[in-house]
């Protein structure tokens, strides 16, 4: 398992990772969220031993970062990697397989698995962004990693490729692998990861399951009530809230007040045409946890 203990990293005299502690168990999928510049890439590079740690400790199944044992157990998908354009996907992946001690046929299997089999012989210069990203994913699956560190793995992927990607992540975890993946795209992670860690300006501001984060944030449920023609004013006079477009009124309430509010809406059938209930999404949660504390509502 991956164990991060009070890790600190300075850059240009500024702490870019501030006392972060985090563990990822075997078989667990953890999403690392944060704005651009929050320190996600830096944290992953510290785990890999590519960047020197200025304080605290990291252990990868008991091995220090960057040690040959740790590297043997770890797969990495960098945020930006340009494979050599003049070679084919197959040539690059076979080379990387040799470096990981995997057989060349394994590289071919993985190309198949990420959906690049048909383009395996073509030069990478002819690949789209999504195809290059899938090649990157294929190399991260080489050598049966126990720990996968994926830096914004779904950027550049279309929705179907994203779905397929999370299938692969699910398989890695089901096989006992620990997965830590960073992202600033959020909604896609619902039900795809076991735990969510949010970094803000180098600090870990949340680290829990989605359910617990929802509960502790106490974010309001939103009700969108569509009025019958020309009755929006009356509806607002009865319920309060605010107009969101010509005919609808939006109301916010805490989860435990929801039923009471619903029955009062129910009592106005002559004004109400339809209701949408919008629970707090990952985006709301993310905005809540990644905003500075003093501005939280």
């Amino acid at each position: 398992m991956l164990q991060i203990d009070g890790v600190i990293k300075y850059r240009d005299g500024r702490q870019t990772v501030t006392n972060v502690s985090l563990t990822v168990e075997a078989g667990e999928r953890v999403a690392l969220l944060g704005h651009n510049g929050a320190g996600k890439t830096t944290l992953l590079r510290l785990i890999l031993g590519l960047t020197k740690i200025d304080g605290g400790q990291i252990s990868i199944f008991g091995h220090p970062p960057g040690s040959i044992e740790a590297r043997r157990l770890t797969a990495y998908l960098p945020e930006n990697v340009d494979f050599h354009q003049s070679l084919s996907g197959k040539e690059v992946l076979r080379h990387l397989a040799r470096l990981k001690g995997d057989r060349a046929t394994r590289a071919d299997d993985l190309l198949e698995r990420v959906g690049l089999a048909a383009d395996a012989e073509r030069r990478i210069s002819t690949y789209s962004k999504g195809m290059r990203q899938r090649l990157g994913l294929a190399q991260a699956l080489l050598g049966d990693p126990r720990l996968s560190l994926l830096d914004e793995p779904t950027s550049g992927l279309d929705p179907i490729a994203r779905w397929e990607f999370y299938e692969l992540v699910g398989e890695l975890a089901a096989g006992g692998g620990a997965v830590l993946l960073s992202s600033h795209a959020l909604t896609e992670m619902e039900a795809r990861t076991d735990r969510i860690a949010i970094l803000r300006a180098g600090k870990l501001v949340a680290n829990d399951t989605l359910e617990s984060l929802r509960r502790s944030a106490g974010l309001p449920v939103r009700l969108r009530v569509a009025a019958r023609p020309d009755r929006a004013e009356d509806l607002m006079a009865n319920l309060g809230g605010c107009r969101i477009n010509g005919r609808s009124v939006e109301l916010a309430c805490q989860a435990d007040e929801k039923m009471a509010l619903l029955s009062s809406i129910n009592a106005l059938p002559h004004l109400v045409e339809d209701i949408d209930i919008v629970p707090p999404g990952l985006d709301d949660l993310y905005r809540y946890f990644s905003a500075p504390e003093e501005t939280r509502s």
């Binding site: 890999l48 590297r71 990495y76 340009d82 494979f83 003049s86 040539e91 040799r98 470096l99 001690g101």
Partner: protein
């Protein structure tokens, strides 16, 4: 070591695919043919065979061309991989960082050695076909080949050192061209200027021979054009034969690749991918 060979194989494929190999071979071949055919018309008039004349002109050519090709093969090796993010990926793999550099070096040295073998081979065969060759001139051709490979290895090392020093491949390209200009062209001119100013004093007799031999390109020239009494260099520099211990140029040429290779490795180890 397996990893080093895997890297070498990959980089040979890359050199082939990016046409660096073809360009190196083409350049060497072109110049070898031109020099051999244009080599002073009736070679017999000088009392030496055509191959001897060819070796002399190939030496002068190699001083400029071999370092240039070596630097062009090597300048991108580290800065370029770093820029593409490949270095970070590779260093997360369970292989030693030395094997990465050794693999690049093997691939580039093989590319260079093959280009030189083809160029010099064609020059040798062409000379013999035109005029015939003595055993001594064949020997000179082989010495030329071996020393050219060592010269190439040295400048590959310089290329890797520079490539580790700077972050951007463009900057590395500029620096290797600067090194080539200063080390190969301006260095000799500066020495010549100092010789003229010194007019046979301490600098000329004591310092100058050493300054000449520590420059790998000049050591290469001394190895291949070193006569029995004195050496007339193409740039007009004269070295009294007894000013240096025996085999000093050969030693210098043999020592440069491991020394610069070690420096390049230390610089490479320092960088954060």
């Amino acid at each position: 070591m397996t990893a080093a060979f895997a890297f070498a194989r990959y980089d040979l494929l890359l050199a082939h695919r990016n046409l660096w190999a073809a360009i190196s071979i083409g350049l060497m071949t072109l110049f070898a043919i031109v020099l051999t055919i244009s080599g002073s018309a009736p070679a017999g008039a000088l009392g030496v065979d055509r191959l001897t004349v060819t070796v002399t002109s190939l030496t002068t050519l190699s001083i400029y061309l071999v370092p240039l090709i070596a630097l062009l093969l090597s300048f991108d090796a580290i800065a370029g991989e770093r820029d593409r993010g490949m270095l970070a990926l590779i260093l997360s793999y369970p292989v030693s960082s030395a094997s990465f550099l050794i693999g690049k070096f093997l691939a580039h040295l093989i590319t260079l050695a093959v280009a030189l073998a083809i160029g010099f081979g064609i020059a040798g065969i062409l000379s013999v076909a035109l005029d015939g060759a003595s055993p001594a001139s064949w020997k000179a051709l082989f010495v030329l080949y071996g020393s050219a490979v060592l010269l190439g290895a040295t400048f590959l090392g310089f290329g890797y050192a520079i490539s580790s020093l700077v972050r951007h491949p463009g900057a590395a390209a500029g620096l290797v061209i600067g090194l080539w200009l200063i080390g190969i062209v301006l260095y000799d001119l500066a020495l010549l200027g100092a010789l003229v100013a010194d007019d046979g004093g301490f600098f000329t007799s004591k310092l100058f021979p050493w300054l000449l031999v520590i420059n790998p390109a000049d050591a290469f020239r001394l190895v291949n054009l070193g006569g029995s009494t004195s050496t007339l260099l193409a740039s007009g520099l004269l070295v009294p034969q007894d000013a240096l211990p025996a085999l000093m140029p050969q030693m210098a040429l043999l020592l440069w690749p491991p020394v610069i290779g070690y420096i390049a490795w230390r610089l490479f180890r320092r960088i954060e991918p």
